[in-house]
């Protein structure tokens, strides 16, 4: 439960996860595989969706383990996370929808 007794292995575990995910992202970015880069899905390529999912995986590890939020009391965890989970997708939806609209209207 508490990290004080566990030693350091969990830190290095997260380090390797972050490193491997970043390496995969860079490799995909350099190679740009035709099958996933060419497939369109929900307004952008499948490759971009993969990038976004991998980024969210990295973010989750940083926030929950490095920043220790995963080990805080549940009420506090959601006090911090919920405003972000509600406001950021809302903001993105409005601005990205308006962005594509102004592209078609130009």
């Amino acid at each position: 439960m508490s990290n004080e007794q566990k030693g350091n292995w969990w830190i290095w575990k997260v380090f390797w996860i972050l490193l491997i995910v970043t390496t995969v992202e860079v490799l995909l970015g350099v190679i740009q595989p035709e099958i996933i880069a060419g497939t369109q899905f929900l307004g952008t390529s499948l490759l971009n969706h993969i990038f976004i999912v991998l980024t969210l995986v990295k973010a989750a590890y940083i926030v929950l383990v490095f920043m220790h939020l995963g080990f805080e009391r549940k009420s506090f965890k959601w006090t911090v996370l919920l405003p972000a989970f509600i406001l950021i997708p809302y903001l993105l939806f409005i601005l990205l929808a308006e962005g594509s609209y102004s592209y078609f209207m130009m």
Binding site: N3, I11, L19, I52, M67, A84, L92, M106
Partner: protein, 228 residues
């Protein structure tokens, strides 16, 4: 007394089980996260609006120190690695703070500062290359040639790309810079034994939260500026 114990919100204890300072650091980071989301969402707006003439980052950032030719994403991958590494040394410092091992806190905190400084240096190099541009430059309609990018013109494509690049990576870089300054202050306090006397190293933990946040923002900047 038994009643306050049975009811977390009944007073007499910390309902969230975190100290005041740590909670405020989290609330600050939440607002800061919303600020950065606003910037990146605005970037997304312009990118969708000018999707035909938006430059591709793989074409713009292809340089690597002491190497010739095109190396897309390589340098920024190195910068990401440096920042992840400095995040790891920060957790180690916090972890040894819990165990009250002053010498190891000093060691890992110092390495975190070195990582932050290396990142800032890399960013300066990256900015320098972007500002100076390529040898050939771009020929405009009136026959004049522009090299590199600034806030008004951009050799590689739409000027807004350069504006967002300077603004967002600059704002992030300023966070890294302030982080390095705060880490140095905290390191001096650790060396002086302030937290040893206080009985806990919570201050290191709070700065650690800020430092991880800087890494977190970079993860998103990396994706939305360089990959997507």
């Amino acid at each position: 007394m038994g009643q306050t114990k049975s009811n977390v919100w009944g007073g007499g204890e910390r309902p969230y089980n975190v100290s005041y300072g740590k909670m405020m650091m989290w609330f600050f980071l939440l607002t800061d996260a919303l600020t950065f989301s606003g910037f990146l969402a605005a970037y997304g707006f312009s990118r969708f609006k000018y999707q035909d003439i938006w430059p591709e980052a793989e074409v713009v950032f292809t340089h690597f120190p002491f190497m010739h030719g095109d190396h897309p994403l390589l340098f920024v991958a190195l910068m990401t690695f440096i920042l992840i590494m400095s995040s790891v040394t920060m957790v180690l410092a916090v972890n040894y703070g819990h165990k009250m091992e002053k010498k190891k806190v000093i060691l890992w905190l110092s390495l975190t500062i070195v990582g932050g400084a290396m990142f800032l240096g890399s960013q300066a190099w990256e900015w320098g290359h972007f500002i100076h541009g390529t040898e050939e430059g771009r020929i405009l309609a009136d026959g004049s040639i522009i090299h590199g990018a600034n806030l008004i013109m951009n050799e590689y494509g739409h000027p807004l790309f350069a504006d967002y690049f300077f603004f967002i990576t600059g704002f992030h870089g300023f966070h890294v810079f302030s982080g390095v300054i705060i880490l140095i202050v905290i390191l001096i306090n650790v060396i002086k034994g302030t937290y040893e006397k206080r009985g806990h190293y919570e201050m290191v933990e709070k700065v650690g939260l800020y430092w991880h946040f800087v890494d977190l923002v970079w993860v998103f900047v990396f994706t939305f500026f360089y990959l997507v």
